[in-house]
Symmetry: C2
Subunit: 658 residues, 2 copies
């Protein structure tokens, strides 16, 4: 009998096939020709049967199907560790979105993808499922690296870095799918981002594309409890039935996260054969919780494991992710037998393939499947010793003791991408150089912004309004408000209008005084009977102040910018990270008066926290320094008309009295 | 000015000092002479000031205090991955304890410790806090490797691998402490294992030793909820106040785990300055839960991080442990700002030092402290890119992106233990060889046991009783029990005694019939009125059966062993891992009768699950084949006396009727 010529033989390794019988060959081999696995079996048998152009000796190694990363955003690898340990809104609206707005371009996506591929190949990943912008460039880079990928073009209901409307994204997506459909490595897909960033129309269009071209539909589902709560509040439905209305599950769905699903929703996933991408690190890091994977598996749902993007991880290490998945189920649902090592490795390989609807092609080492294979070196000290008294021990070793640095060789679609820890399709030196250039630009962008409250404020607001530069003011401690109100009714003073309100101010202050400070104001307008009428939230940047004492009054010169605050005080506090914050609460009777043809605001303030007390304030603002000086004189006159005492004058602002 | 001669200069690295001000030197250096840090500062300054015998260039690296592993059992490294994904009792009583009983000897502890040191040095650990047996050999190996260690000798109320009583352990401990006290690297300590394995006397003696010699006391506290519940049930007190009664917190306590403490207990830890060793991987893997570290830190408790032993981890990778600690608090307590990266790195260094009561000596890079320093290479692709726009980003990188394989150099007490990934004090090749020899012996021990139900049963029982080899029996389906009872009252038959009982049998069956099977029986003896009187649990190994049909009766030949079952059915099921289990429930009226001077058991059984029905069984057992045949004849006669029909005879055992 003559030996059959083949391209590649991996031999003398412990082969973990992950086939249905979970066959293990302790001294095994895998025969590969072109892009396909020809045979898997005992090393001796295959050595006699095949004549390989190239043979890789896998002594002391495990030969496994490549790992499948079922959910990630690869270009974001360029944003690794940009900003961490923040609440989702601060992280997203304060850092990710401003940076993405500025930096995400086709070249960014290409470079970020190559970088991600380098890291993933090193950690044993052979297939990944992506969702990002400019997905055509993601696909180009993945194909260049030689990785297998599902590339889902993100569709959002609001403008994205690569589209000003979702119509544009849908058009892009169609063109993208037509271009890549049928590629040996790349499967294009449609990626409506999430229920809360979608409209019914948009979802229907996405399902249309997915079914017309028979491509997967990748979406985030039920990542957090608030997402479910909002859906119930707005639509009276949890997210899965809400999505189901628009035919979503007619597509080959790949649902990322699924942390907070009800049992009926899980049943829908099962019945519609939707795949779930479980992302344990990301779900912990962003404080979403832990998905009940053991329950999904009990129901027979196809679950895979994903790293999510590096911005919420901060790496693409699938070996780490598999271990964490196995550990978390046990510790969270208090049962050490949940998600045992063997099953965890299954999720990372054939399970992931099922979740991606690719199990006919990849996920196990079986004849006829694509040759996506990794070789893991078990010689390191952290693998010493190991046991073989039961078939489970090899999985214990793979899941609980293996590190990504143990992955020695990686073959995808029959092509060797890494041999003995050397990448063969990616130049890491060039790539590191390019990535560093980008990160330095982002660093500069953020550093400039960080050093400048105005830029930070602009980054999270839709334009701010500058306020008059000069402020003339006088403040006097008074005994009672009523007396002063009487004195307003005298000749020469006209009351134009008045209001009463509670004002809750939070000043965010910085040790570096030259930065200025931020004021968050909750302005509660009251009816005459004291009941609430309306409330306004305002955020202001108040620049460093130059103070001049001018007779009885103070003349302040400073930059002031103000905008309606559309986020909570908590948000701004965590976002601006002040060194100190100060609260001032007051009950204010405000009179707008005219005196000698000049308008002034007269505030009768009762402070209720910190430095309590009752105050008369007379204020005026202007863009002109000369005008300011004239008004200062008039304020001096008003103070006399009101009969205030000079020794009761207060030169400090309220926040300094607290 | 002339340069001062020193032994070692680490230079050009990003120095993370972890001092009180958390000073960072972006282009920094650490000057070391003998075992002490002389100065930490800017690279340029130190280069001019010192003339070093050896200089290590740390370009592109972070220089950090070494990591402190606050809780482990280093010799158990030899049991890595021995058996996983099991419930605690199955794991402990089924695997760990039988193997420890057989294999834990002084040499085992020495080799295991060296192996652990090799792995820990590679993952950046410079100090560990241990608790195991033969701690003198642990200390010897740690000193040989050059690692800093607190070595706590385990004290248990029951026999241990190194002592038959706790008096012996206490004596050993005293001698051990006197031998090592004052060693530059080793701090001996006393280790009462846990509240539930201690007696008040034992605890008092341990505190006595700890205070007399001024050494730490290392103990497991509140690892699981059942531990707390049991303590409340038995003593009416949770574990901390129970321990406090015996003066435990007068010692310098290092408390491992602390997963389930009440607020008052946390306050006690704070007030007594006890350190906590948080072991996130172990607590997840054994399904204990997640310790509320953020709450401990809010109270000002000194918390460090520990890997626990490899048997519940399965590695000693502190870098992984720090990341998991940071992630878990957020995901479990649903707040992404909990345990930010900077604080996590603090727990791994100076925080750990405080928890071990060693912060005057180690934990930060400051002049006068011992030179325990690691150098982490940040060049790998998983560190690309990184950001420097805020002081937090370096901690993000250390905690969320670093892998233990990035640790390049390790210096402990001024001695270089690893340089450029090469260990200098440990021969890994020899060590791997020795460890493999041991693991192979354990594999053989377990494989033999696994293939043999008898060995497995013996491993978790204190001796089993063999039962007569031959069993003669006949079984007949009957219509009603009363009629048969009447027929017992006839001439020639004497009723010696009788009983009524409910029997709940679980048969653990294996596809490999030659293994035999295991029967777990709950035998509930009833009073005449049917109320429960007593209950017995019995576990039996029933060997493969040779069946002979003998006239109307069946003659069974088989090995049978029985022992009182001291664990739950659930335990045995998970431990023996049967391919199938079958339940048989019956209400049994049992008569012990004498017929022709021969004793028989007559059972009138009413089955209540699976194959329901009412049966008459006549049985006898003997050690003799000839005797068995004679009894078979007599049983035939009895069947006729009872007037049973031949066609009602049942040849199968009850479990085959279900």
């Amino acid at each position: 009998m003559t030996a059959t010529p083949i391209d590649l033989l991996l031999t003398n390794g412990l082969v973990v096939t992950m086939n249905t019988e979970q066959t293990i060959h302790h001294q095994g081999a895998v025969a590969i020709h072109q892009d396909v696995i020809i045979e898997v079996g005992e090393a001796d048998t295959l050595a006699n049967k095949y004549l390989a152009t190239k043979t890789i000796d896998c002594r002391g190694c495990v030969i496994s199907p490549g790992l499948i990363n079922t959910h990630t955003h690869v270009p974001m690898t360029l944003l690794r560790g940009l900003s961490d340990d923040l609440r989702l809104d601060v992280w997203l609206y304060g850092f990710m979105m401003p940076v993405e707005r500025e930096f995400v371009k086709p070249e960014f996506c290409y470079t970020g993808t190559l970088l991600a591929c380098a890291e993933m190949i090193r950690s044993g990943v052979t297939t990944f499922c992506d969702m990002y912008y400019y997905e055509d460039h993601v696909a180009q880079a993945a194909a260049k690296a030689g990785m297998r990928a599902i590339c889902a073009q993100t569709i959002l209901k609001f403008p994205a870095p690569d589209a000003i409307s979702y119509d544009e994204s849908l058009d892009y997506c169609r063109t993208f799918i037509k271009k890549w459909k049928g590629h040996p490595l790349i499967e294009p897909a449609v990626g409506p981002h999430a229920p809360y960033t979608a409209t019914p129309d948009m979802l229907r269009a996405c399902v249309g594309i997915a079914t017309e071209y028979d491509v997967p539909l990748h979406i985030h589902i039920a990542e957090t409890e608030p997402e479910q709560q909002n859906s119930k509040d707005i639509y009276g439905l949890t997210v899965v039935p809400w999505l189901e209305q628009y035919g979503l599950f007619e597509a080959k769905v790949i649902a990322a996260h699924c942390v907070c699903l009800e049992e009926t929703e899980l049943n829908t996933l099962k019945q519609t054969n939707a795949g779930v991408a479980h992302c344990p690190t990301s779900n912990l890091k962003l404080a979403s919780g832990v998905a009940p994977v053991y329950e999904m598996l009990k129901l027979g749902i196809n679950v895979g494991i994903g790293t999510d993007g590096t911005a919420s991880n901060n790496d693409l290490d699938m070996v780490e992710e598999v271990r964490l998945a196995a550990l978390l189920q046990k510790g969270t649902f208090i049962d050490p037998t949940l998600l045992p090592a063997r099953q965890a490795w299954e999720l990372a390989t054939i399970g992931g393939a099922r979740a991606l609807h690719l199990d006919a092609l990849i996920g196990s080492l079986e004849p006829g499947k694509r040759a996506d294979v990794i070789v893991i070196d078990m010689a390191a000290i952290h693998h010493t010793p190991h046991f073989r008294h039961s078939a489970d021990t090899i999985f214990s070793q793979l899941v609980y003791a293996t590190k990504s640095s143990d992955v020695r060789d990686a073959i995808i679609n029959g092509q060797i991408l890494m041999e003995n820890h050397q990448l063969l399709t990616i130049n890491e030196v060039d790539l590191t150089h390019k990535a560093t250039q980008i990160s330095q630009k982002i660093d500069t962008f953020l550093a400039n912004r960080e050093g400048d409250l105005m830029s930070k404020l602009l980054a999270v607001s839709s334009g701010v309004i500058p306020i008059e530069t000069y402020e003339v003011q006088a403040k006097v401690r008074i005994d009672e408000v009523g007396q002063m109100e009487e004195r307003l009714n005298q000749e020469g003073i006209t009351i134009d209008r008045s209001s009463i309100r509670n004002q809750y101010d939070t000043y965010l202050c910085f040790d570096q005084a030259e930065l200025g400070r931020i004021r968050y104001r909750e302005d509660e307008i009251l009816n005459k009977d004291g009941s609430p009428k309306d409330v306004f939230y305002q955020i202001s940047l108040i620049g460093p102040t130059v103070k001049r004492f001018f007779d009885n009054t103070i003349l302040l010169t400073r930059a002031r910018y103000s905008v309606s605050a559309n986020r909570s005080c908590r948000f701004y506090r965590e976002y601006f990270k002040p060194d100190k914050d100060i609260q001032v609460e007051k009950y204010r009777k405000r009179y707008h008066i005219t005196y000698k043809n000049t308008q002034f605001a007269v505030n009768l303030d009762t402070l209720s926290n910190g430095a309590k007390g009752t105050y008369l304030e007379i204020k005026s603002r202007t863009w002109s320094a000369r005008d300011a000086e004239q008004k200062a004189v008039l304020i001096g006159e008003l103070l006399e008309l009101f009969g205030t005492e000079k020794e009761n004058q207060v030169l400090e602002e309220y926040l300094h009295l607290v």
